[in-house]
């Protein structure tokens, strides 16, 4: 079954998304910016400035949007289609200079000297008996020393 004719009819209903430019746009997608170096038509610009600028910008924006849709897209819940932006290419100056590394505190110097490393215990541990990750202490924890055991043998000295 040949559907190409129907596809053509369908396509011609809509306006084209292709734009022809002499020099392709330079893009900085991290900033969502497009730089167009093609020459503008001076007489059109002087005669009907607003309309010409609008159509010219529309072409540039169409190209930008085409490129954005070529980026890796993911569908996020409740939000919609999200495009992953690349890193910014244009060098934009910072507002403050880079932070200088702060001198180590008295404790930090001592710890480094003695080789003391910070050993933080994690909140959850793997309980072999229950076979799952439970809190180290607290509600439904691992160290309740048999308070909730259902079967406790009577000790000899009772």
């Amino acid at each position: 079954m040949d559907v190409s004719a129907q596809l053509e009819a369908q396509k011609s209903q809509y306006k084209s998304i292709n734009v022809e430019k002499q020099v392709p746009l330079q893009l900085d997608l991290g900033l969502l910016a497009g730089f167009d170096v093609n020459a503008l038509e001076e007489n059109k610009l002087k005669a009907e400035t607003d309309n010409y600028l609008k159509s010219y910008t529309r072409d540039g924006t169409q190209l930008l949007i085409n490129e954005i849709f070529r980026l890796p897209l993911t569908s996020v819940q409740d939000v919609g289609v999200v495009a992953e932006l690349p890193k910014i290419i244009t060098a934009i100056p910072r507002e403050k200079p880079l932070p200088k590394p702060k001198p180590p505190t008295r404790w930090e110097r001592f710890a480094k000297l003695k080789g003391i490393k910070k050993n933080t215990k994690s909140r959850l541990i793997y309980d072999e008996k229950r076979g799952e990750w439970v809190p180290r202490w607290g509600y439904k924890g691992a160290n309740d020393d048999g308070a909730n055991e259902w079967l406790v043998p009577v000790p000899d000295n009772a």
Partner: protein
């Protein structure tokens, strides 16, 4: 000059911490100041430009006696007090009618400034079309080859990107691309010196449009633009460019943010990801291979075979 404040409670400590230099910076704050005399055009322009930059912009309502190209101190003070690094100063005089000065700060000092004159202006309120929701990231389109060749234009382009880019994001919701700022440069530089625009007859067209995405029969939508405003026609006046060394320090990328080089992994011509593993020297004599019992040389076996042969001979 501002005194360095020593924090007396946790709240002020947090505020100071927010203002100190970081590897990944906060969004820049902009201040919009009025000079000693302003015109209605300039006032409207300042408020519109402030609106475009909804958050992180402070609009000064009172007039201040400020001359950016002559005296830096009051400007440094305002920016330090408000922790801002972008500024726009509007003024109006007979010599420089409808004047705007766009500028940036680095490290508490003025980095660069560009003065523009407004030739034509149409405010957002005059254009009766629905405006986009504020706070969205805009798209930028810069038209004209002057933005690659002329230093004034390159600086202006950099400044506009800096002013209106919003928060740096890693990913963006496609439906949040609501408006586009389009800046077009016409004219040509008639003097050979790129930095002097005095004999330059060109204009800068500043336009802002809302984007409407319509069906196109394909995955990528067809873009249609609707005028949103404000619309300006600028002409460059005086400029002050950043000093080379200062600009270099300002654009330095810290090592942590530089892309890391991955060693020993590459892509070959077919497109497969190929990695190299460096194995140390191997002593082939001492390699451990699988044990095959049948191939073991045992002294008993040899004796047995000899017995057999002897037995055969005997019999």
């Amino acid at each position: 000059m501002l005194k360095t404040i020593k924090p007396k409670n946790a709240r002020t400590k947090r505020i100071l911490k927010k203002r100190e230099p970081k590897v990944e910076e906060n969004v820049k704050t902009a201040i919009f100041i009025r000079g000693s005399t302003t015109s209605q055009v300039v006032n409207d322009a300042l408020s519109d430009l402030c609106r475009l930059r909804r958050s992180n912009s402070i609009n000064f309502t009172k007039k201040n006696n400020i001359h950016p190209f002559d005296d830096d101190t009051s400007l440094d003070f305002y920016c330090a007090k408000n922790d801002s690094s972008l500024f726009v100063i509007g003024s109006h005089s007979k010599k420089r009618p409808h004047n705007l000065v766009f500028g940036r700060m680095f490290d508490g000092q003025v980095l660069d400034m560009i003065e523009v004159g407004i030739e034509k202006a149409i405010t957002m309120n005059e254009i009766k079309t629905p405006k986009c929701s504020m706070g969205m990231k805009p798209l930028f389109i810069f038209n004209g080859e002057l933005f690659e060749t002329s230093q004034v234009h390159k600086t202006f382009k950099n400044m506009m990107l800096d002013f209106y880019r919003g928060q740096t994001m890693e990913s963006i919701n496609v439906s949040g691309l609501e408006y586009v700022i389009s800046i077009t440069a016409t004219g040509s530089i008639t003097s050979s010196d790129n930095t002097v625009p005095s004999t330059f007859d060109g204009k800068i067209f500043f336009r802002v449009y809302t984007i409407q995405m319509t069906k196109s029969g394909q995955k990528v939508p067809r873009v249609e633009l609707e005028d949103m405003g404000p619309n300006y026609e600028f002409k460059f006046r005086r400029t002050r460019f950043a000093k080379e060394e200062v600009y270099k320090i300002a654009t330095k990328i810290p090592k942590t943010l530089k892309p890391k080089k991955v060693k020993n992994v590459g892509v070959n011509e077919i497109g497969d990801k190929v990695g190299r593993i460096h194995v140390g020297r191997q002593d082939l004599g001492k390699l451990q291979t699988r044990k095959m019992k049948g191939l073991k040389r045992m002294s008993e076996d040899n004796d047995r075979t000899e017995d057999w042969s002897r037995k055969k001979r005997k019999a």
